[in-house]
Amino acid sequence: MEYFAILSDAFANFWTWQNVMWLFLGTACGIVIGALPGMSTTMGIALFVPFTFSMDVVSGLTMLGGLYNGSVYGGSISAILLRTPGTAASCATTFDGYPMTLRGESGKALGTALLTSTVGGAFGVIVLLTVAPPLAKFALSFGPPEYFLVAILGLTIIITLSEDNLLKGVVAGAFGVLISTIGFDPIEGIPRFTFGFPDLYEGIPFVPALIGLFSMGEVLRLVGKARLPDDPLNSRIGKLFPSWEEIKEIKRTLLRSSIIGTVVGIMPGAGADIASFVGYSEAKRKSKTPEKFGTGHLEGVAASESANNAVVGGSLVPLLTLGVPGNAASAVLLGGLLIHGLNPGPMLFENHPNITYGFMISLLFSCVAVMILGTMMIRISPHILKLPKRLLIPVIIILSVTGSYAVSNSYIAVGIMLIFGVIGFMLEHFKFPLAPLVLGIILGPMAENSLMQALLLSRGDWTIFASRPVCIVLLVLTIASISYSLLQIAKKKKQHAESES
């Protein structure tokens, strides 16, 4: 009963016209920032934190929370319309969202992304509100051995994502992990593959590499299509939002991906990008029609978007209860809390319950704001499709260059973006999948860092990876994941051989 009394007070503290105004403003800015390739969620929050200095604490946090939620959804707009993920979290959305655009169903894809983002985001915040303390305690028990096995489990997803050509998928994934080793070694601090460039000491900048792979690569493919007359079907929006029957078909995927996103968000170090891949992979694995994934399947969009938005609530669990950021975006939010004199941790709930719960309630309302503002933007955003491809190509390149430069104020980052654009184009041209490459880049540092730390802790004893209960569970899950996926591939090949004979 005390908990509900606190919630009631916090709601009264939040529910003023000023806070609602800041909520909508923050969410709108977040959607725009998320939609712009190169403008990441983290960058958007970092840009707006200074604006909250002079604001009321709850107002400032409300605006930042709305921006966080809005930008994670906003990435789906450019992912679906231009195959250019606005944020890393929307990579997996391109797999099915863009093919839907090519079929003239961009409105349905955007509507599905909006609906599932809202539901996923709300789910994550409800979990945050109800089970934050015990979940954070469990996540804190993860050490280097557990994180290494989490990374390996994540890398086995490569097998699921590249069923059509397992060998090329493994090559792409391994190449991604190799790219992630560029920079300082995590233990000795010795540079690897930097060739004397100081800009590479911190490794390949992730956002420019991502922009290059997905944005520049698409631009180079568009060049071939630019010679053809514009297909009027491609710019057809079609109906907005899925039908009730379609919503019923995706409801299980929605729930599963929301749970996955929340759990991934709670784990420190794992972000919305990993959540969207895991959600997408699981949806494909559990689906009755996995062959439809990647061809413009509604379930694919739903899985990715609900998972990445559920991360918002999940990532704030360790931040608010323990002061440990769940990902880069929540790390910047930590700065926003400190600026207002709030020290995240267990005492935050004791000393400032109105502010803490008020912030969490504002996140719930930001999901409503995303729904309202997103519906308005669906009508506006497809007009981008009416731009002739010959004009769209330089526009995308300029946004990619601007975004890459803005990340680190460096021309090297833009050069890296161009190089990765060529790499992405060549890889897809020779039928190497890009998703495992991106997964390798994301999980490589986690795998190496935690492996080295674990071996240092155990003084070289590899049994550390099988000595703790959580490790054993993760090992079993990894072996089960690999076995199941290989069995599925073998089964499909057998069926294919039987049907041919």
């Binding site: 920032i33 403008m39 840009l47 060998l167 090329k168 493994v170 090559v171 391994a174 190449f175 992990v177 190799l178 080793t181 070694d185 233990i187 000795e188 010795i190 690897r192 593959f193 520049m216 631009v219 180079l220 060049v223 071939g224 630019a226 010679r227 002739p388 491809k389 010959r390 004009l391 190509i393 330089p394 526009v395 390149i397 300029i398 946004l399 260059v401 601007t402 430069y405 803005a406 104020n409 021309y411 833009v414 050069g415 161009l418 654009g421 060529v422 184009f425 041209h429 020779f430 039928k431 190497f432 190496e448 492996l451 080295m452």
Partner: protein, 146 residues
Amino acid sequence: MAKGTCINSDRWCAVGGLAFCGLVYGLLLDVDKTVRTFPLSVVSILFLCFAVLLWKSCNPTANKEIVWIDFQAVGVVVFAALYLFCLPHLGYTLCTGIFCLATALMLGFKRYLAAFLVSIGFAVGVYLLFFRILNVPLPRLGIGIL
């Protein structure tokens, strides 16, 4: 304009990949042993995969496909590289406007006035949005206007 030739792309990818692995292995030899263990393991996996790919591509029934060289795509990459090179010298707005116009015309966009207006409008619009409103640093000339 594209030009195509019929090759076994997997075989050439495998050969290129094996050469790449050899290059990376050579670079890692100069690095301390403890530091090179992890990347060396990854290169070994890559080497194995490319070796299997090469073996599979040597199968007489392996598919050959036409590989196209799209010269316009190459042109776009060259233009983008020139854009990057000119940014610190010409400033963001001017460079962006010129690049947008030049690329559109290179790709065959015939409506010259529309291309000019869109290029200038877009360059100024992006500058205002990123630099003035979002305070994102952009390359500028010494006079600080462009």
